[in-house]
């Protein structure tokens, strides 16, 4: 949703008030939604006017929305998840209209005024490898998603770290299908569990580059009555129970509220004439052990 | 006018009117249908006969006027309502479900007697078999009807009207797709029905059927009733006058004056043609200037033979020559390119795009010839319009303009549009499949005249017509029985009796 009042001018009245257009990614993707929501409320707290549009994960649509923001002469454009290689029309238009473009969950590339990186691959990958490196009959099922930039970076980091740990031959990959990622992951996991029956006594581990396939895998495990540790990203209310009962071994919590403050700061710095910069989002690796502590610190997740 | 001695009418119409947009299909129709009588309805194409019957069927609702059933004012609201009133219908357009068997088609409307109709199948089968026995149906009743011939499908449609105990049976051109044997069988059934007190409405363009069968005849013209007759109280001329409004229309077909010379060039020669279950061995020669008839009963393989010559199907066995050169059309376009044309059996589904204009239907398939510059793909519409106008004039097609949709034309005029298509292109041989089916007496005469003119101008015609007496136009008739040509009858002056004798002698020996 959006509270942009129709007809209110975008004219930059003085230095305080800005109009920001946010190109969100896909509101059904939890992490992306949390980020844009946080960014929006942080900006509105500054008294800025915020317009959000959802391209439902479609890059062409994202460019159209961005171009519309340019037509509407917003002061700042914020893009979630998409990266510059998918936003050429947007970047060209913004450049010629001198509108700065910021990336949420992206990286600092040519023409970008500032970016918050949420790829944050290492914490989970390192934690997982630490946990599994000594397992004798290790088998990893990795759920990947090539079209998503964060997922690609997480997978690349994992490949690199497994290589370093000499575990490259233990991994089997499944590219999840979007949309329908939850059921797809569920079916893939179920088949993988069949291929690795309990009787063989393998040490199974599931890695999912974002939360949805992890939830699908979790559903498959429940159906099969098996227990396999799952490592993934994007902490949210739906992972609390699986974490508590140990089905999820570790979930990376990205401090999306913090991201809101970060993006506001990036924009302010830029307005003040600062150089483009990339900052990492603050993160916590949540495991069954520190779950209660984490929830106490972040009451917004306790349902 | 109603005679006091007559029983009360089952159905009385009073001043019924109906318009379809600008077309005024009925303008005040009144008539009475009595129980135990066959009531004939005649009239030119588009006179409103079917529209009237469709009102009884609940398919069309009247704009004005009144309908009395058993003396009570009634608005038939739906086909279901009509069934509840005890009315049964044989529609002009075959209304069957192609995937359903004959049994299922005949019993679609039969109400279930059990909960949700569970376990009702046996009863349906019994009902259908009984009707099949009455009609003497000789084809499998459990095959999907799409695998049946058009004539067999017609019999299924008739069978459906006999399922259940109707008080009134409407038959809209039931014999259009039947041959004489089946017709006789149908007439017997009609007589049985009326003997048991059922009322029958009977529409036909074949006036001798009307004379033979009907106790009362109502003549429609332009949506109005122009005459009513009792059995025996009229002559053929009275009917023709009522239908056409003119006295000079000859209803019977005239024979050509002389045979085509044996020396005339053979333009098409067919030898040992065979394909599939319907065509086994067909051979004949066609000469320039000749109208050659193909006679046979329904299912004899005539339609299929014409389709083979036209390249719509490829023969499995056999040879053909066209103008002396070997002829083996790879496609319809190929056949047309070599000057062969077909006027197909079912004009609505096989020849016309009903929603398109007369112009478009005339030029269909021939737009290439309307190119402004022969090597550029752009059409010159002016030229096409001129052609269409010429054809409308030459064939006397009755239409508002060349831009009217052919849907709005009467059956006979629609058929003339199909002729216009071929006459405006360069064809030497016309294959006519049932060219006068469902066409009124006036238009029928014009269609035969067109064919004669075409032949006289150096063309050649092969014609299939189930109304054997119309084959009198032919110079020569080839007789087909069960997919084989069994012989020929030299004309002119071939009579129906000649052909029937040839067909049945052969049938008896072959079976």
């Amino acid at each position: 949703g959006c509270s942009g009042t129709p007809g209110t001018g975008s004219t930059d009245d003085g230095d305080g008030s800005l109009t920001v257009g946010i190109v969100s990614y896909d509101t059904t993707t939890l992490a992306a939604k949390a980020e844009t929501d946080a960014a929006k409320s942080a900006m509105e707290a500054e008294g800025w006017e915020v317009v959000t549009q959802d391209p439902k994960g479609d890059a062409a649509q994202a460019n159209t929305i961005c171009t519309q923001f340019i037509t509407r002469q917003v002061d700042v454009i914020v893009i979630s998840v998409f990266d510059t290689t998918q936003m050429a029309q947007c970047m060209t238009g913004a450049a010629s209209a001198s509108i700065p473009v910021f990336y949420l969950a992206g990286s600092l590339q040519d023409g970008v005024a500032g970016a918050i990186s949420t790829t944050v691959a290492p914490p989970i990958n390192e934690y997982m490898i630490d946990q599994i490196k000594d397992l004798p009959k290790l088998k990893i099922l990795a759920m990947t998603l090539q079209p998503g930039a964060p997922c690609r970076a997480r997978e690349a980091d994992l490949d690199e770290k497994l290589e370093a740990a000499g575990l490259s031959d233990k991994i089997e990959k499944h590219e999840v299908v979007v949309p329908g990622q939850v059921t797809d992951a569920q079916n893939a996991t179920a088949a993988w569990l069949q291929a690795n029956p309990e009787s063989e006594g393998s040490d199974l581990v599931i890695w999912a580059c974002f939360a949805d396939p992890a939830m699908g895998a979790y559903a498959a495990l429940q159906q099969a009555g098996r227990q396999v540790p799952i490592y993934t990203w994007d902490f949210s209310a739906q992972v609390v129970e699986p974490l508590r009962n140990g089905s999820l071994a570790a979930v990376l919590a990205i401090d999306s509220a913090g991201e809101g403050a970060q993006i506001v700061q990036l924009i302010k710095d830029h307005q003040a004439g600062g150089e483009p910069q990339e900052v990492d989002a603050a993160t916590t690796v949540v495991t069954p052990d520190n779950l209660d502590e984490f929830l106490a610190d972040h009451p917004e997740f306790a349902s | 006018m109603i005679d006091a001695a007559q029983p009360t009418p089952l159905i009385s119409a009073r001043g019924l009117t109906k318009s379809f947009g600008a077309v005024r299909a009925l303008r005040g129709v009144g008539l009475d249908i009595l129980p135990g009588q066959v009531h004939g309805l005649v009239g030119a194409n588009g006179a409103g006969k079917s529209t009237f019957l469709n009102m009884l069927a609940g398919v069309v609702t009247p704009d004005g006027g009144e309908l009395l059933v058993d003396g009570r004012p009634t608005v038939v609201s739906s086909p279901r309502h009509a069934a509840d009133l005890g009315f049964a219908f044989i529609y002009q357009e075959l209304a069957l479900v192609p995937e359903f068997s004959a049994i299922d088609n005949m019993t679609i409307g039969v109400r279930p007697t059990t909960f949700l109709g569970l376990g009702d199948a046996r009863r349906r089968k019994a009902i259908a078999r009984e009707v099949a026995a009455r009609l003497d149906l000789r084809f499998p009743l459990d095959k999907p009807v799409r695998d049946l011939s058009i004539a067999e499908r017609g019999l299924v449609a008739i069978g459906r009207a006999l399922v259940g105990d109707a008080r009134f049976v409407s038959m809209d051109e039931p014999t259009a797709s039947l041959s004489d044997v089946e017709c006789e069988r149908l007439f017997d059934i009609v007589r049985e029905l009326t003997a048991s007190g059922v009322a029958v409405a009977y529409v036909s363009h074949r006036l001798d059927e009307i004379e033979e069968l009907c106790d009362a005849v109502t003549v429609f013209k332009d949506g109005q009733v122009v005459a009513s007759h009792e059995r025996g109280g009229y002559t053929r001329d009275d009917l023709v006058l009522g239908i056409t409004g003119a006295r000079d229309v000859r209803e019977t077909v005239e024979s050509p004056d002389a045979p085509v010379s044996r020396d005339a060039e053979v333009v098409l020669s067919v030898r040992g043609l065979a394909r599939g279950p319907r065509v086994h061995d067909v051979s004949f020669d066609l000469r320039r200037g000749e109208i050659l008839g193909l006679a046979g009963v329904v299912g004899a393989g005539r339609t299929e033979t014409l389709r083979l010559i036209f390249g719509a199907e490829r023969p499995v066995v056999g040879e053909m020559t066209l103008g002396g050169a070997p002829y083996r059309p790879r496609s319809v376009a190929d056949a047309i390119g070599r000057g062969v044309a077909l006027v197909p059996e079912e004009r609505r589904s096989q020849a016309l795009v009903m929603d398109e204009s007369v112009l478009v239907n005339t030029k269909m398939g021939g737009w290439r010839s309307a190119r402004a510059v022969s090597w550029l793909p752009f059409v010159a519409d002016g030229r096409a319009r001129a052609t269409a106008r010429t054809m409308v004039e030459r064939l006397g097609i009755k239409t508002g303009s060349i831009n009217s949709a052919v849907r709005t034309l009467s059956g006979g005029n629609q058929q003339k549009v199909v002729f216009a298509r071929w006459l405006s292109r360069d064809v030497g041989i016309m294959l006519l499949d049932e060219p006068t089916r469902g066409v009124d007496v006036g238009a029928r005469r014009q269609i035969w005249a067109t064919a004669e003119e075409f032949a006289a101008a150096g063309g050649a015609v092969v014609v299939v017509c189930s109304e054997l007496e119309e084959l009198a136009v032919c110079h020569r008739v080839v007789v087909m029985v069960e997919g084989r040509t069994v012989g020929e009858i030299a004309g002119p002056g071939v009579t129906e009796a000649d052909m029937l004798e040839a067909i049945y002698t052969q049938e008896r020996t072959s079976s």
């Binding site: 059904t28 079916n187 939830m215 | 279901r80 051979s283 012989g487």
Partner: protein, 337 residues
């Protein structure tokens, strides 16, 4: 009258060679049983390719995996058999999943929440039926429209986020997760749903009227079938079964997903079309649809077991669909010649 012999009528019958007749028979078999043969071939291949494939647990898993898809596709089969289309069923499944979970989260008792979710689906079905039969909008357009509108509705009522219920309502998860007699529960639901649909379509008066409507709507109407009512009923039944699937899906993944069921539209069409080549000639029927769903599920499962990349599944599904339908159409034509 003179009946002369027609010129050179060749006396002998045009006999067909034995080879041609065998070919024709083979074609006929391929046409009728092509899809079943494909399924059989897949079963054999995968049995050799993976030792885990031909095990009871895995075969049960295949059935389990087919179950929800088969229920939607079964409902869709009725709409297809009535000669119409429904492009909105996937979105209806999503809708039911969201409604049931949101209501539960708002304290509505589970059975009531389920009933309301199914009712919502039924309402959409009635709307589809109304558009198609009363307003006479082409079914493709009408359901493309309701489908698009439902995407909006689903976003609106869910706020775009999944509605997790696994923590608070473990008993809701029990509906779809778990087994009876060692057989996953969804398999029972599938069996029940398809049995009901089969009886409705094949053994009742309504089913015959439905098929008549699909075969020739004009003829059915003239024979006294209330084609409008029958068509609307088909849309409602499809909507109901799609909604049931949506609820089961929410139960099996533990949350209502705003786009969770969207994929069922295409997969059901694929299954139903694949199934229309089974045994009968191009007609939609329940057994065929089941075969279609299971064939696709076997393919997916087997490919996953063998460890083939997932895009291969799409290639597989596409080629399977084309091959089955093409075979059946060629077979039918050759066998007619």
């Amino acid at each position: 009258m003179t009946l002369t012999e027609s010129p050179q009528a060749s006396p002998e019958l045009p006999t067909r060679s034995l080879a041609a007749r065998i070919g024709r028979r083979t074609a006929a078999i391929l046409g009728r049983y092509g899809a079943l043969i494909a399924l059989g071939v897949l079963l054999v291949i995968f049995s050799f390719a993976s030792p885990y494939f031909l095990t009871i647990p895995n075969l049960l898993q295949v059935l389990n995996q087919s179950a929800l898809g088969a229920i939607v596709a079964g409902g869709l089969t009725l709409v297809l058999a009535s000669g119409q289309f429904d492009l909105s069923i996937g979105y209806m499944a999503s809708l039911a999943g969201i409604i049931v979970t949101i209501l539960m989260l708002q304290g509505v008792p589970i059975p009531v929440a389920i009933v309301i979710a199914l009712l919502a689906g039924v309402i959409v079905g009635v709307v589809n039926g109304f558009l198609v039969t009363v307003l006479q909008v082409n079914a493709l357009v009408a359901t493309l429209g309701t489908g698009s509108a439902l995407i909006g509705v689903n976003y609106f009522i869910s706020g775009g986020t999944p509605q997790p219920v696994s923590t608070q309502f473990p008993e809701f998860l029990q509906i779809a997760i778990g087994s009876w007699l060692g057989i996953p529960k969804p398999v029972f639901y599938m069996a029940g749903a398809l049995l009901i649909l089969w009886i409705v379509l094949n053994k009742t008066d309504f089913g015959r009227n439905l098929r008549a409507t699909g075969g020739n709507v004009e003829a059915a109407k003239l024979a006294g079938v209330r084609t409008g009512g029958v068509t609307t009923a088909a849309f409602v039944i499809a909507a109901l079964f799609a909604s049931i699937t949506g609820v089961l899906l929410a139960s099996s993944i533990g949350s209502g997903q705003p786009t969770g069921g969207d994929n069922y539209t295409l997969s059901s069409f694929a299954a139903a079309f694949l199934g229309s080549t089974v045994l009968r000639e191009g007609q939609f029927h329940i057994v065929g649809t089941l075969v279609g769903v299971v064939t696709v599920a076997v393919g997916f499962n087997g490919l996953a077991l063998v460890g083939v990349p997932s895009f291969v599944q799409f290639l597989f599904q596409g080629i399977l669909l084309i091959a089955a339908v093409a075979f059946s159409s060629i077979g039918r034509r050759l066998s007619r010649e």
